[in-house]
Symmetry: D2
Subunit: 364 residues, 4 copies
Amino acid sequence: MKNTIGTNVTTTIYGESHGEAIGVILDGLTPGIPVDESFIHAQLALRRPSGKISTARQEQDPFRIVSGVFEGKTTGTPLCIVIPNSQTRSKDYAATRSLARPGHADYTAYCKYHGFEDYRGGGHFSGRITAGLVAAGAIALTALRQKGITIGTHIARCGGICDRPFGDLAADIEALSTMTFAVLDENAAKTMYARMEAIAAEGDSIGGLLETAVTGMPAGVGEPWFDTMEGLLSHALFSIPAIKGVQFGDAFDLLDAKGSEYNDPFYMKDGEVALRTNHNGGINGGITNGAPITFRCAVKPTPSIYKSQDTVDFFKNEDAKLEIHGRHDPAIIHRARVVVDSVTALVLCDVLEGRFGTDYFSAK
Amino acid sequence: MKNTIGTNVTTTIYGESHGEAIGVILDGLTPGIPVDESFIHAQLALRRPSGKISTARQEQDPFRIVSGVFEGKTTGTPLCIVIPNSQTRSKDYAATRSLARPGHADYTAYCKYHGFEDYRGGGHFSGRITAGLVAAGAIALTALRQKGITIGTHIARCGGICDRPFGDLAADIEALSTMTFAVLDENAAKTMYARMEAIAAEGDSIGGLLETAVTGMPAGVGEPWFDTMEGLLSHALFSIPAIKGVQFGDAFDLLDAKGSEYNDPFYMKDGEVALRTNHNGGINGGITNGAPITFRCAVKPTPSIYKSQDTVDFFKNEDAKLEIHGRHDPAIIHRARVVVDSVTALVLCDVLEGRFGTDYFSAK
Amino acid sequence: MKNTIGTNVTTTIYGESHGEAIGVILDGLTPGIPVDESFIHAQLALRRPSGKISTARQEQDPFRIVSGVFEGKTTGTPLCIVIPNSQTRSKDYAATRSLARPGHADYTAYCKYHGFEDYRGGGHFSGRITAGLVAAGAIALTALRQKGITIGTHIARCGGICDRPFGDLAADIEALSTMTFAVLDENAAKTMYARMEAIAAEGDSIGGLLETAVTGMPAGVGEPWFDTMEGLLSHALFSIPAIKGVQFGDAFDLLDAKGSEYNDPFYMKDGEVALRTNHNGGINGGITNGAPITFRCAVKPTPSIYKSQDTVDFFKNEDAKLEIHGRHDPAIIHRARVVVDSVTALVLCDVLEGRFGTDYFSAK
Amino acid sequence: MKNTIGTNVTTTIYGESHGEAIGVILDGLTPGIPVDESFIHAQLALRRPSGKISTARQEQDPFRIVSGVFEGKTTGTPLCIVIPNSQTRSKDYAATRSLARPGHADYTAYCKYHGFEDYRGGGHFSGRITAGLVAAGAIALTALRQKGITIGTHIARCGGICDRPFGDLAADIEALSTMTFAVLDENAAKTMYARMEAIAAEGDSIGGLLETAVTGMPAGVGEPWFDTMEGLLSHALFSIPAIKGVQFGDAFDLLDAKGSEYNDPFYMKDGEVALRTNHNGGINGGITNGAPITFRCAVKPTPSIYKSQDTVDFFKNEDAKLEIHGRHDPAIIHRARVVVDSVTALVLCDVLEGRFGTDYFSAK
């Protein structure tokens, strides 16, 4: 399987940055889920670049749902979304076509596709392709919400500035759902934004840390081996460009902890099994335990920077200097967080239908 | 797909800790790969517990290859390995059957399997199941070595003690291949081992950090979306019990770096494209770039500790105290590293045959 | 997996008959395959209805390739084709919405999708969806032809009239490639066509038998169990609407034969292993033997007829009479044959890349 | 995927005819299904050769369930069955190792596995491997029966002799479940058996037609494209050695029928939607309609016959004469029918869990 992920609910993406269109097919979702185009637009807007910390390219995402929705609801058959490209300035790229941008996929694409790849604007590797994931993810998020499952992601760290940790999850996720710059603490938001602007002004770029929480997941979902909840989520998350690390619960942050510190004690709360801490991120043995699923993604700095870089010309097989012009994001972390939510939603829909059947999201 | 992973080369595991046998089926590997049973034994020995930092249970792994090998070589048809269980003391577990061990899968297994699960010794969730992965992985490692691809993993950190970083990869991987306690720096090894013994003596447990390097991978392997090299590897790695975080290259360690610091410059070296640094762990845009693949796994502390813990009785739905007896590992990180190598080998064989065909490993 | 098929080369379809568009995503095909839009148009024309034996609806298929092709060649990334719908007269269907057409999917769709399905014109079950398969199949056929593999299908029987059997395969396949009404014998063609017109005039419909041959397949492709060549091909072929039976070689036609009659003797021909007969349809033990792959598909009569039929109203749960108006095909066998070729091509591309790697079709 | 089939419930087989063991892993079945070893033995006995129309080799199938069953019930984790081989007379095969048996997989195996295949007794291609399918199928049949779903197969035709068609399905399936020679009409059974003995006495072999019915399947299961019920069933059925054709409902038997004859009228029966005829075999648009699923499989004659045959020596690349000795079945159709039931059960369990969730078979 290549550009398709999922078993029961599948997501297939297509498109190149400067081709005619990009898009997505979402298949297998329970019939009857309401499809609210304005919510899809709102989610796409969260992904769209804005301000000095984003590319100047004004991406409009006037998507069309060309199948799979009838009378405002999912039919259960493949839902195809087409997002036409526009405002493409392809000649920005032709001159540097064979100069491998360090940190980017130009050279690896050449090794894999032998020069037949559409190199313009990153082609099929462009972050723009994630718009399809966000559009499909919006529908998945709606399905999950009907079952009381919510997802939220904030920028936990960027440029050395840290946001406050998650507090009241319900309130935080609600707040994040409409926040343009997803930092929970207002002062941290200002400092972080200023830091990002400064780095953009240098012609450089920055990454950081995204933290995600999922509430409302039933216990008992996931497999003990291979299709663990961690395995399924990370598999999907790593296809978000720039994500290079994924941890569930505290993992890398508690490398020296002892078992007596790391184990999450169970207790009875209002007649339900609950957990006092959540170092395991809501997952034991690959299976959800009913606590919130929490994970953090390390986002590397955007590779396209305006500073001169050493590289090679892979047509000529010789050393070269690269100076990038055109429009590039000095950071994508603030845009990537809605992609993380979307990809998470798609994976969870898939797993939940596998566990409880294809009518799960319609069941009362 | 549940206990099977892979597309072109598939691995299927089975077994419970205290059942009749555990094992693995490896399918789709190129016919003609030599199967050296003594190498499989050697790899299993690296996984086997030893000393005070491991369980006192003396696991013998007298495996039998019951299919898929003919005249000492892989046939290309399913290779099934059976590893009988022995020395099982199942009554250790019956008394605490409904007391959820914090950090362990007892409660989540109950939610998923409704009490029909074999609870003895962790059942299908037991780390013992990884013996099958190691046995299959040994054959995969042999196939890879025939194409010049090698894999090695060391304990980069445990109990606050750090090993030296990888240096000369060829030499380090060679050294690790026969090292019982996989720490490259001798002094670090001693201190670390002493620290682990001390924690074991407390009745507590410890995790840490594993670092892995793969040399010799050709460039141009992996997919841009979903089946990225990172996605495929992490999917498999997260099924190793206790692994809760995976990062490729530097990810979490360089959260505040700028693009100008993180990007790996390309240059020509002896007529080949090479990279000056490897912050991206040998992968750009989900596809190998020819540099070593490097990743680090966060290993949480073993959940079974001898200290008294708060928990619930999930049969009675009431709070309870848990005191674990029986035989348990105070640490599994030193045993897990050969599992990491094995799982990595299985994933790479799968991806390489997908890219280059099923005869890849026999080709000259 | 739902509307996606294949492992190495995947095909995903989407769309409803009266929605905005239908289409297909073809993914994983070797980069650099020439994409000739006029050939795709020619293939779509073979599928398009014409004359009195087809629906009066004039389907134009002005497709757009919106991704995956760059400078006239496949990029190797997902190739998405969008075929807009037009000329839809949806109100023909609303009146009979809850009357299950016998032999059609109205009732089963209702059971599966609970009334959320787009019922207009058969919705996602419409034969129109096969246009996407034909468009993708045209590209797959081009890839195969580069390796000397050709596919052809003729109407072996319809309305009791039989075509002559395949003779010189190379010549027959060449002739079929541009034939509008795919019957090899001219007289049989005339009689058969007249018979189909007569049945159409009655307001009834007819099916028949399609026979397919594939030349040039290398020996040694396919799996012994499950992913046998027969299993893979039939899996895909049965999704062509109206196909209800698939046989490889002579199967149902030689039910009483003895082994001494059915076995295909091998012999040496010009230094190559060859077969004197081909009762096994080019496949032994699930794997190609180098002889042409041959199979026959039983096509049931089109379910939509103009005669009054007994049925139920599944909203009211009561008996009902159905009189169908609108535009319907009295036969689809003459249109289905290009769909069979296309689906076969897609399966073979998938299997060949799995066997020989993703660059197979570019290799010299 | 190679020797694994299924998505939600998966079946993986392994083994060679003359290796140490053959077997199967059944994974994903609902926890809590009773596992009755005597029923598995009974099913294996139906598959075992007996009398003059079977090989003289006395296969004992003393299987061991080594995982996945606890206290007599499925755990929901992989259920591995090991069936040791015994009574193997391997030298029967060495002499003719490079002589391709016509109709058999020797030559295609050589093309695929390059001579590394275990050639003894058909190796991994041996019909003996189906014992694993029967063992796993017995458990699947038990799960289905708990939901009121039953499966039965009879020999509809062999050697020109026809059995009576299915009548009262409940009674016929019940009768078939313990019948050694699965022919419903007693006189037909005697004539057919005598015919098979006569052909065996000639040193020749025979195939025939198997007819299968499934009762109790809920409506609304299956996919409109690709994973149609027909596609899923045929995919699996074609891996049963000697099956070369599969038709659902009447297909090949009603090639000249008109729509008005072939369409199955719906009507209300006791408040439920029912069908007056079943030419479509219980499936419309790939999805079950609630009528019995019916299909017929064409079984080719066993390729191993005692008559002298023309062939090639594929080591020497020269023409050769083949005289087969050893023990071979003059017919396998009477043994294959329980394999058809088993494979069908495995596919249906997979599809039903995909539709209704993994607890489906335990639900009241």
